[in-house]
């Protein structure tokens, strides 16, 4: 593929990807009363902040924002640590039938999410976890583990066993080897797993609407969802502005950490 072809291909892709983003931004600028019911191609005024405010108050996004931040940070973090420990167990430590352990833990990401909802609801009602922050955090942590485990495990297989062996010769305990050698060496991989799981928890809707109901507990996507319901009175520009504003934290995490973990990875690979 010639250089020009390549540049053309990349430019074309970027344009294709930018178009929907452009439409998202332009239409979330339109004041709701100016919106004609079909897509705008040029800005029809600048009501972005009014729209955000309308979405924020109509849907009560504020409460959900704080809750979701808690869930995404804590559960993403817990899941990465727990998954890293499990990966350590399956790859480095002796354990009977490592493949079975792998498949049981990994299976959590294979089953369709909808399958868990009804039984979970019953369990949560019985255990007094329904509509509590703890309940949601538990399920988010559990849900975030399998894929983090998959990523971290794959990365851990690439670490030379000599490292572990050398540390053991020095008399280090397994706990020390894990925290002082594996975790720092896999920093970038763990960071990537955390970002993915942060995003996944932040964007969850189904667990949120099934296992909680009070505004203090509900995650932000559940709040946003009320804007797109049948009886909602919010106009499309408000919906888009709301969608944009709740995407900001994940966008920021990506922008901030992307360079960081890319650099980390290339450094460790050279």
């Amino acid at each position: 593929m010639g250089r020009h072809m390549r540049n053309l291909f990349v430019a074309g892709c970027v344009l294709l990807w930018l178009l929907p983003l452009y439409i998202l931004i332009v239409n979330s600028l339109t004041p709701p009363e100016e919106f004609t019911g079909s897509v705008d191609w040029t800005p029809q005024g600048f009501a972005f902040f009014d729209n955000v405010k309308a979405a924020w108050t109509d849907a009560g996004i504020g409460d959900g924002f704080a809750s979701s931040m808690l869930y995404a940070v804590v559960c993403g973090g817990v899941a990465v640590v727990v998954a890293a420990m499990a990966a350590f167990a399956v790859i480095v430590l002796p354990i009977p039938r490592p493949a079975l352990w792998f498949w049981v833990i990994f299976s959590g990401t294979l089953f369709p999410l909808q399958m868990f909802l009804a039984p979970l609801f019953g369990m949560y009602a019985d255990a007094n976890l329904y509509d509590t922050r703890l309940g949601l955090m538990l399920v988010y942590a559990a849900w975030a583990i399998p894929f983090a485990f998959f990523l971290i495990r794959n990365q851990m297989t690439t670490m030379p066993p000599e490292i572990t062996e050398a540390a053991m010769l020095d008399g280090a305990s397994m706990r020390r080897i894990f925290w002082r050698i594996h975790v720092p060496l896999m920093r970038s991989g763990l960071g990537a797993a955390f970002i993915f799981q942060f995003t996944a928890v932040w964007n969850d809707l189904l667990f949120g609407i099934t296992l909680s109901r009070s505004p203090e507990v509900q995650p932000v996507m559940a709040a946003l969802n009320s804007l797109t319901q049948a009886y909602s009175t919010a106009g499309p520009p408000v919906v888009l502005a709301g969608a944009f504003i709740v995407s900001l934290p994940t966008l920021l995490v990506f922008l901030v950490f992307r360079g960081l973990f890319l650099r980390g990875i290339t450094a460790s690979a050279r």
Partner: protein, 449 residues
């Protein structure tokens, strides 16, 4: 959910929340004559006992709804209820219809159930009542009716086996929204006869405006035009068909769909993927002529910058058969009390006060929609006009609430198929009838047991 939960035990087996009927009647009598304080002392001890567990504190009851836009109106009604009955409503909204239903159904048998529910009327309420999970509110209804607080013709929609299981919350009429300015520009007036309506469609079309909004977006709206046309051509047949006494393969059902197919042939409809919020905006801006919906769409119009009476107004679709009994479709949500809710006593008390004119006014005005209490003044000009127009009309319940819920869930998909291919109605109706045969059989069997 998956086979492990036993059927709901009879309410008396739960000592924590159940009180004998007699005491209940006492409290109701008390309620009628007393001011807030008196009731609070009479039931105070009990309420505290109930309220302490998982529910709201004494003097507060949680109401569970699926609709975020109802939160503020419910709060307003709660304020009025506090003044009239000493009880505060705490709205809790589940912002997804699917999980709302799921949560209601799976929580009714646990003590995690909310005290009060906003539910659908008609067969959906009957379906819920059949589980034994919600309270009989016949006394509350009769008390309200004797004081003129509720339109008696709504009773049927909230009744199962001769008992009332819910009180009406709102009363929305199904109407056609239009833009009076656009109509005036094309020398059209608010349609009063079927011919007026057809004339308006033709003239709007000639002037480059898509006359009618129809949609399958969001799935459920597929029933709208079938409901509207069928009930205007033969309201008796609509009522009978919806209650399983007539068949979808009847020539009268076919005629309704043929009429709709005729509208398609004249290109009167928008494409079937325009949702209601976009359609409302397009009516205000003069791109779409008319949108059929419940009066609750008024809130969407307000959000789209419409001015009631100027750039938006509504009319009840005129009768296509002038000889038939004039009718309008209504939609009303049920205020239901759960059997196992933690603050059941207070919830029953709240039900007793729900239709009080002050409470009903606060709610209807907060919602900007119609009220089941005829003493409530209409919330705005559009509602006023529609309410006047509907005064002597036969109130028929909406398609969504009619017939076994499971049947409705499938037939809206069949109707969507007929909106995509308007001339496939014969085979579509046959499928619908096959479903209806089975669903009604199941429903009636369940009714017997």
């Amino acid at each position: 959910m998956s086979g492990r939960h036993p059927p709901i035990p009879p309410p008396t087996t739960d000592p924590g929340t159940t009180t004998p009927r007699t005491q209940h009647v006492d409290r109701r009598t008390l309620l009628r004559v007393s001011a807030a304080g008196a009731v609070a002392t009479a039931a105070g001890g009990l309420a505290t006992a109930c309220g302490s567990a998982a529910g709201q504190g004494p003097g507060k009851v949680a109401i569970h709804g699926d609709n975020a836009t109802w939160e503020a109106p419910l709060q307003a009604a709660g304020k009025a209820l506090k003044a009239t009955a000493g009880l505060q409503l705490v709205p809790e909204v589940i912002p997804s219809l699917e999980s709302f239903e799921q949560i209601v159904k799976s929580s009714l048998r646990t003590n995690k159930t909310p005290d009060l529910l906003k539910y659908w009327s008609g067969y959906r309420l009957r379906d819920l009542a059949r589980t034994g999970g919600i309270e009989d509110l016949s006394e509350q209804w009769e008390s309200a009716e004797s004081q003129g607080w509720v339109d008696p013709s709504l009773r049927e929609a909230f009744t199962y086996g001769g008992r009332v299981y819910g009180l009406p919350m709102n009363l929305a009429y199904w109407v056609i929204f239009y833009n009076p300015e656009v109509f005036a520009e094309h020398r059209l007036k608010k349609p009063e006869t079927w011919d007026d309506f057809l004339t308006a469609c033709t003239r709007l079309k000639d002037n480059g405006i898509t006359p009618l909004h129809g949609t399958t977006a969001g799935r459920w709206p597929a029933f709208i035009w079938f409901q509207e046309i069928l009930s205007r051509q033969d309201p008796q047949f609509y009522d009978d068909l919806m209650n399983g006494r007539e068949r979808y393969t009847d020539p009268r059902a076919e005629r309704a769909l043929r009429t709709i197919a005729g509208f398609f042939d004249k290109n009167w409809f928008t494409s079937m993927d325009v949702d209601h919020n976009n359609a409302a905006a397009a009516v205000v801006h003069g791109d779409i002529g008319m949108v059929a919906c419940g009066t609750w769409l008024g809130g969407v119009f307000a959000g789209a910058g419409a001015k009631p009476g100027k750039t938006v107004d509504a009319f009840v679709l005129p009768m296509a058969d002038p000889a038939a009994r004039p009718c309008v479709i209504f939609e009303s949500s049920a205020f239901a009390v759960t059997v196992k809710g933690p603050d059941r006593e207070e919830a029953l008390k709240a039900a007793g006060g729900w239709l009080h004119p002050e409470v009903a006014t606060a709610f209807a005005h907060g919602l900007s929609d119609g009220s089941p209490n005829p003493m409530v003044k209409p919330a705005n000009a559009v509602i006023d006009g529609v309410t006047r127009q509907s005064e002597d009309l036969w109130l028929l319940n909406r398609f969504w609430e009619q017939g076994p819920p499971e049947l409705v869930e499938s037939t809206v998909d069949d109707l969507a198929g007929m909106l995509i291919e308007p001339h496939s109605y014969r085979s579509g109706l046959r499928t619908m009838q096959e479903r209806a045969d089975e669903a009604w059989k199941v429903w009636r069997e369940a009714e017997k047991s």
